[in-house]
Symmetry: C2
Subunit: 192 residues, 2 copies
């Protein structure tokens, strides 16, 4: 029991990991804990648009755990020119440390989910990726392109990073976003 | 698709609903969105202590939606001498409005989950309640009784509000907490 409690209290640190996107109703950057809740809700609500036989419970679990490594690494905006292989290796070390607070069986279950998300080879992981990429876009579309402007992100850069995963994981969502992004470009909501 | 997006953006408001408990690693009050994520993780991690045949996927879903009504009503500390029937009626109206942004089938699914949580008549709802009551206690135990002190909450008041639901929903968790609460009382972490 104490190991479970230690783990859940360690998770409290994700509330202090800030992302580049602001919340819509207060002038602060969102954190990765509340983001994890919101994308679980996004994926669940988008279930009618998921590929046939997608296990939505599995998608929800993938999304609840996918950002936990940021407790040690912080969040990196998806449009960054980062060394993504090195970042992912750091995140793996982080989740091994954090999930390792739990008893072995539970730690292995969470690590397998984290790895499934990263590998992106199941329809559940692909749908989860689509939701994860879409959520900050939806917030930006509701917020005059706030994080695109602040970070100098172009329309082309956004499309280059999100089109493939979203159109693969949830084609109807990409169809929706493509039009919205074109409107946002016309409105001048990108950073360059 | 637009109705799903409208719903998920409406959910952003839950990030601005503050609770009485502070996060452990920054001097601010936690919000109900990040709380919803953390208790889903608590319930999931406590699965080995759940009653036999508890559907943990169902518990996670109950917890992800249970606080959404607070978008309209705000959070009320569980130890308050509030008119709980009136509060729950307000919350019901709130979730009917918010879930009603979704297509009918999805709205009905979420409302049924919200009602299942409130009714507390399934083992899943009872386990979810135990987790919901336990989480702020665990934060207080890690934070020198912060919200108990700030709100003048006594040891007796805490036990009166949490013993029944936690010992019913997750007996092992109550056994753990009873000892920790006794220690906290000894340490003077209660408000009166």
């Amino acid at each position: 029991m104490q190991s479970v409690i230690d783990f859940v209290l360690e998770l409290d640190k994700l509330k202090t990991v800030t992302r580049k996107t602001k919340t819509l109703h207060s002038d602060r950057y969102e954190n990765s804990a509340e983001h994890s809740w919101q994308i679980a809700m996004l994926a669940w609500s988008l279930a009618p648009y998921a590929p046939a036989n997608t296990d939505i419970n599995q998608v929800i679990k993938l999304l609840l755990v996918h950002d936990i490594g940021e407790i040690d690494t912080g969040d990196t905006i998806v449009y960054a020119n980062a060394d993504w292989d090195a970042l992912k290796a750091e995140e793996l070390a982080a989740v091994q440390r954090i999930f390792g607070l739990l008893p072995d069986g539970a730690a292995a279950e969470l690590l397998a989910l984290w790895q499934e998300f990263e590998a992106g080879s199941t329809i559940e992981a692909q749908f989860a990726h689509a939701c994860d990429r879409a959520m900050p876009v939806l917030l930006n579309l509701a917020n005059n392109g706030q994080s695109w402007r602040e970070n100098g992100i172009s329309y082309q850069r956004v499309v280059a990073r999100i089109e493939a995963p979203i159109s693969q994981g949830c084609p109807a969502l990409w169809q929706y976003l493509a039009q919205r992004l074109a409107d946002a470009r016309h409105a001048g909501w990108f950073g360059c």
